[in-house]
């Protein structure tokens, strides 16, 4: 009997937090279906060999990140950008503000170490990506879907659909509650309770892990298919309509809160918001 060789995959970790890798370790079904040939967090191997699937996590922050990225994609049949940092820079975008960069770059001179690039950048600023897997981090189920690509896989359209909290027409707060403040009523939509939740615009598939126990969605899975090919202005208008329908909070108050740092994970997934002049990612390529 001929021995079937399992597909080979590698995980290249650029500048990030390793949360994506920890999530991948939870998706332990791959252990029996794939041959993991490179992932410095768990395997002693110093170079990315040719692979069927290359997962890339983290943003491009140093010259060494860029070197590893360019080398690794050469021998990969399929390249997947995983996690919000690889796709958009994630929270690292808070460090791309000019007033922060001035200080950061001046304090980062070291000898013999990788040099930091002027800005943190997403991986598709440098290489072609076959599939985007957003999330901070993506859940183990989503990792398995990205690896196996089952033809019938469909994540829910939005986090809202997975959350299951009831939207009420007669419970209209007049101001935002504060990001995390106050008692959270179970079963009732967080927006009805004055929380800044963007679950109605955010791509589903996470099982609404944050909103169900009472924390507003910060949009780490990025824009839903309805919004992903549009720009951040289109999103702002649409989310403001949601707040107008469910609350009496002044639009200016909502608008200001929507553009605050807590939503960095979400906002920078709009390429116009991140700057750099790249087109939006096509929805067919986003899991």
């Amino acid at each position: 009997m001929q021995k079937i060789t399992p597909p080979r995959f590698a995980v290249l970790q650029l500048s990030g937090c390793a949360g994506c890798e920890v999530s991948l370790l939870n998706a332990s079904e791959w252990v029996e279906q794939f041959d993991l040939v490179y992932m410095p967090l768990v395997v002693s191997a110093y170079d990315v060999p040719p692979v069927d699937v290359l997962l890339i996590s983290g943003g491009v922050r140093s010259d060494e990140d860029l070197y590893h990225l360019r080398r690794a994609v050469k021998h990969a049949k399929r390249v997947v950008a995983v996690g919000t940092c690889a796709i958009s820079g994630g929270v690292a975008n808070l460090g791309n503000r000019d007033e922060v960069r001035e200080l950061f770059l001046s304090q980062s001179e070291r000898r013999d170490l990788p040099r930091l690039l002027p800005k943190s950048q997403p991986v598709d600023a440098f290489v072609d990506i076959d599939l985007y897997l957003p999330g901070c981090p993506p859940t183990p189920e989503l990792f398995m879907a990205a690896l196996l690509q089952p033809p019938d896989f469909r994540a829910s359209l939005t986090v809202c659909q997975e959350c299951g909290r009831k939207k009420l027409k007669d419970m209209k707060p007049k101001h935002l509650t504060g990001f995390q403040k106050g008692e959270v009523l179970p079963d009732i939509c967080l927006i009805n309770q004055g929380y800044l939740c963007v679950g109605s615009s955010t791509r589903g598939g996470c099982r609404a892990l944050c909103t169900r126990p009472g924390h507003p969605c910060v949009g780490c899975r990025g824009p839903s298919d309805t919004l992903i090919e549009k720009d951040s202005h289109a999103w702002l208008e649409s989310i403001q309509r949601v707040f107008a329908a469910l609350t009496e909070i002044p639009l200016e108050e909502v608008r200001e809160a929507l553009l605050s740092p807590q939503l960095a994970l979400f906002l920078f997934q709009f390429s116009d918001y991140a700057g750099g002049g790249r087109p939006p990612r096509p929805k067919e390529k986003v899991l």
Partner: protein
């Protein structure tokens, strides 16, 4: 002069070791952290109340510790004390982190060193009994996953938790789910003990092969857990002398008066020292500075450690054995907390945000973690993160020197050195993403 460079894998983050040698004499051993994202600058101008969501992204392995430390720093600044039940749920979160981290370090990072393989996922047929070993991988991953599942139960999201909020936690733990998880932990505990016993055995065998437990001189130890029954949701930092005397206690806000923090020009991470001496944090520090764990199963392991190695114990490979003890402790302790009613009272107290200064402390898997914020007009004017790995930096370099001197002579470099470098660094389980943030 020759410089030997060792890239490192099976640790959290990007780092390498450089050893300078001249005529067989070791000139220097350097542990270099090679990445930097700049969180202390990134958070400038961020509305203070948003910190508990942003700072877990410093590290996906230690995110829970950052999440809780951040909330505690804000509570310190706002002058609010969370209700007892919220404190219990935060302790659960931190225990989930200990399970996840210690299982990862033991089984994924360091077990391959003891079995002579490249990774836990490459336990092939040639290595003794292939079937048993595949079974070990499966069971190790199962135990590890209990940690992230517990974080999810107590913290909402499974990697970057969200449920700790200023004044408490956003909701309690549902009784049915708590009972189910308690059962899962009870069922898994014997498996975890078998794995820890197996790990202890293969460590003894490795010691026979290499002839050392990584002997090094005694050091100061630092932790923020208490003397009896550790609490990871901690409040006071303690330091112990190399001889085993407790010599100092201080709050997080006194950190700069008690410890010396310095940057180096060859690493993106800083380092600390105590009265000019080398310190050690992490599992061995806790084991040396704890009278008893308060859980019979775990205390039996602690007694075994003390009877075999004395007290305080100093060889560095004991860090790994202590992680095994803590894995058992954390599973049993979490299981006890889950037997309590965790939704019987308010989980959150009201508070009024105000400007000022706040310090937050927790015992992370690698030692005391401090978040320090200055808040002006509701925004972070200055954010400082004092990372437990930096307390171990000098200790790592000193232990590397001991290893280098053991394997380098005037006429040759014993190739065991490469494996020794990996063993030394992994014993301290450094977290580079945190250390450089």
């Amino acid at each position: 002069m020759a410089t030997l460079t060792f890239p490192l894998s099976r640790i959290e983050g990007h780092a390498r070791v450089e050893i300078e040698v001249q005529n067989g004499k070791v000139i220097s051993t350097r542990f270099q952290a090679m990445e930097k994202r700049g969180f202390s600058l990134m958070v400038q101008g961020v509305p203070a109340e948003q910190m508990p969501v942003i700072v877990p992204r410093i590290c996906g392995v230690c995110s829970t510790a950052h999440h809780v430390a951040s909330v505690k720093a804000l509570e310190d600044a706002y002058g609010v004390q969370p209700p007892a039940q919220a404190e219990q749920i935060r302790e659960l979160l931190l225990l989930g982190q200990i399970i996840q981290n210690q299982a990862t370090s033991l089984f994924v990072f360091t077990m391959p060193d003891r079995l002579g393989v490249e990774s836990l996922f490459h336990l092939s047929e040639e290595e003794a009994d292939g079937k048993t070993q595949f079974d070990i991988a499966r069971r190790a991953l199962m135990v590890r996953q209990l940690g992230t599942d517990l974080i999810s139960l107590a913290g909402g999201q499974f990697i970057h938790p969200v449920k700790a909020v200023v004044g408490g936690v956003s909701s309690g733990v549902d009784g049915v789910q708590a009972e189910a998880f308690h059962q899962r932990l009870q069922t898994a505990l014997p498996t975890a003990c078998q794995l820890v016993d197996f790990y202890w055995d293969i460590s003894l065998r490795m010691k026979e092969r290499i002839g050392t437990w990584g002997d090094d001189q005694p050091a100061y130890y630092i932790t923020s857990t208490e003397r009896d029954q550790p609490r990871f949701n901690s409040s006071i930092i303690r330091v112990m002398t190399p001889a085993g005397e407790c010599c100092r206690e201080f709050t997080a806000s006194a950190f700069r008066q008690e410890l010396v923090f310095e940057e180096t020009d060859y690493s993106y991470a800083g380092r600390t020292s105590f009265e000019g001496g080398v310190m050690r944090a992490n599992s061995l520090a806790r084991a040396n500075m704890t009278r008893r764990l308060g859980i019979r199963l775990a205390d039996a392991y602690l007694r075994r450690l003390r009877s075999e190695f004395g007290h305080p114990a100093h060889p560095i490979l004991l860090f790994d054995l202590c992680r095994g003890i803590e894995l058992v402790y954390a599973m049993a302790s979490a299981s006890q907390i889950l037997e309590q009613d965790l939704q019987h009272e308010d989980t959150q107290l009201p508070y009024q945000p105000r400007d000022g200064e706040g310090w937050g402390l927790v015992e992370a898997p690698r030692g005391p973690l401090i978040h320090h914020y200055l808040i002006e007009r509701g925004k972070i004017a200055r954010g400082e993160f004092i990372i437990p790995t930096v307390h171990n930096m000098l200790a790592i370099e000193r232990a590397l020197r001991v290893a280098a001197e053991r394997y380098i002579s005037a006429d040759s470099v014993n190739l065991e050195l490469e494996r020794a470098v990996g063993r030394v660094v992994r014993a301290f389980d450094p977290c580079i993403a945190c250390a450089t943030h």
